[in-house]
């Protein structure tokens, strides 16, 4: 992983900093140049609260290279924010269900390259 590819995503991945359309208030992570709901190009920075609800989930038994499973993957709807795909950490197969409340935390995702550079981002935990 090249540093610049990692670096530019840090505000979104570390701090859940995205954008909100000034016209229709739709929330995006990452932010965009054009709102897909109303076409506006005016956005304000938004930092999402970090709590949300499980919209759907699965237990991944065959992870991609660099990731060790099994782990629970979910689509989480952030409170006042967008839906996002994230793992639910420390969660067994039968523990999560649709509608569960979660909190988003800063966690290690994977490590890459011969040097084992650590890659961080967001994961959910059940509350």
């Amino acid at each position: 992983m090249q540093p610049q590819k990692y670096w530019r995503e840090i505000p979104a991945r570390y701090r859940l900093e995205g954008g909100r359309c000034k016209k229709c208030r739709k929330a995006f992570l990452p932010s965009r140049l054009v709102c897909d709901a109303c076409g506006s190009r005016e956005f304000e920075k938004a930092r999402f609260t970090g709590t949300g609800t499980v919209h759907s989930f699965t237990m991944i038994h065959t992870p991609p290279s660099g990731y060790s499973g099994p782990y629970v993957l979910a689509i989480v709807e952030l409170d006042g924010g967008p839906k996002l795909t994230m793992q639910i950490a420390d969660c067994g197969a039968d523990e999560a269900k649709i509608g569960d409340k979660v909190r988003v935390e800063f966690r290690k995702l994977t490590q890459v390259g011969d040097a084992g550079v650590l890659c961080y981002g967001y994961k959910a935990v059940l509350v």
Binding site: D36, T58, S65, L73, A74, I75, P82, K123
Partner: protein, 385 residues
Amino acid sequence: MRDVSIVGVGIGHWGELWNDSLRDLAVAASLKAIADAGVDRVDSAVIGCMSSGIFTGQEHLASVLGDYLGRGPLPVTRVESACASGALAFKAGYAEVAAGISDVVLVCGAEKMNDLDGSESTYALGTAADQEYEGYNGATFPGLYAMMALRHMHEFGTTRRQLSLVAVKNHANGLQNPNAQFQMAITPEDVEKSAKVADPLRLLDCSPVTDGAAALILVPTELAKKLAPGGAPVAVRGIGHATDTIALHSRASLTRLRAVEVSAERAYQSAGVKPADIHLAEVHDCFTIAELMAMEALGFAAPGQSGPMVERGETAIGGRIPINPSGGLKSKGHPVGATGVAQILEIVEQLRGQAGGRQVKGAKLGLAQNMGGTGGSSIVTILGA
């Protein structure tokens, strides 16, 4: 715009083809299609391929195909839209003939997937999702479709058994297809006891990793009348094409395939037909849940009614609307760039009456639906005898 007909088809056996390279597969299918069409020239070619660069290390397929076909200066275009690359190549070839740019166009779809190991090919396929905001967080394609499946079960009461019956039907059909990767019957219990991939999806809910190619020859319908192809010319009645968000989580609903709905509306409109007029369909069953959701998006089933419809046998050969008589991606195999071309090829063989043991009797109007990623792109093609 000129009317366009398909006059040639070419396909070989699909599977783990260790001895065949990407160029071997593409050229062999193309030569068969040219011979089947009975044409003495090709004016232009389009090749659909998702990711030859990652799967084999080779890009620049335009040059590779022209070169190894032995037709040096032939203009060739390579087209990519993930797993919908094949049907998009068909659309590009169709447009070229319809617009009068070329008269005889070769459309080839090809993918060589078994030059990589399992986790590398999972990565290659994963590039069809949002790499930064799905892949980075550990999403896989089975995982994304699994989350669609769980939502479909939650909202409509779709059952584990209904998913299994999709795979069972497609394997039964594939048993009649000599080119299919898996020619074996399976039971619902086989599906439900197969290895877990991403709950609720198991191994036998998933289409396989496949090497394969397929090719078609397109000409203006006026010219088709002067040729003597291997079967009756089949007319392209309508094509619809649409996109949706790259990330599944950006969609308002996980249980609707909006790009499929819109591309279907456009195809029905351009063909002047409605879902009830269609005699058979090839749909993009990359996972069992995808076939159910495609049936709903294409208007064959009301939202939530696809599972019960499969249970009643309405989508089997001999049923009200046979779906995936070829065996589908599940049994025939899924060389991603080739799939869309092969779906159209199956409809052509069915409308020609050349589908052997899987022939849908009296088929006059068929539909093929090919999509990329989690439905981020979709092409629907309607063909008539």
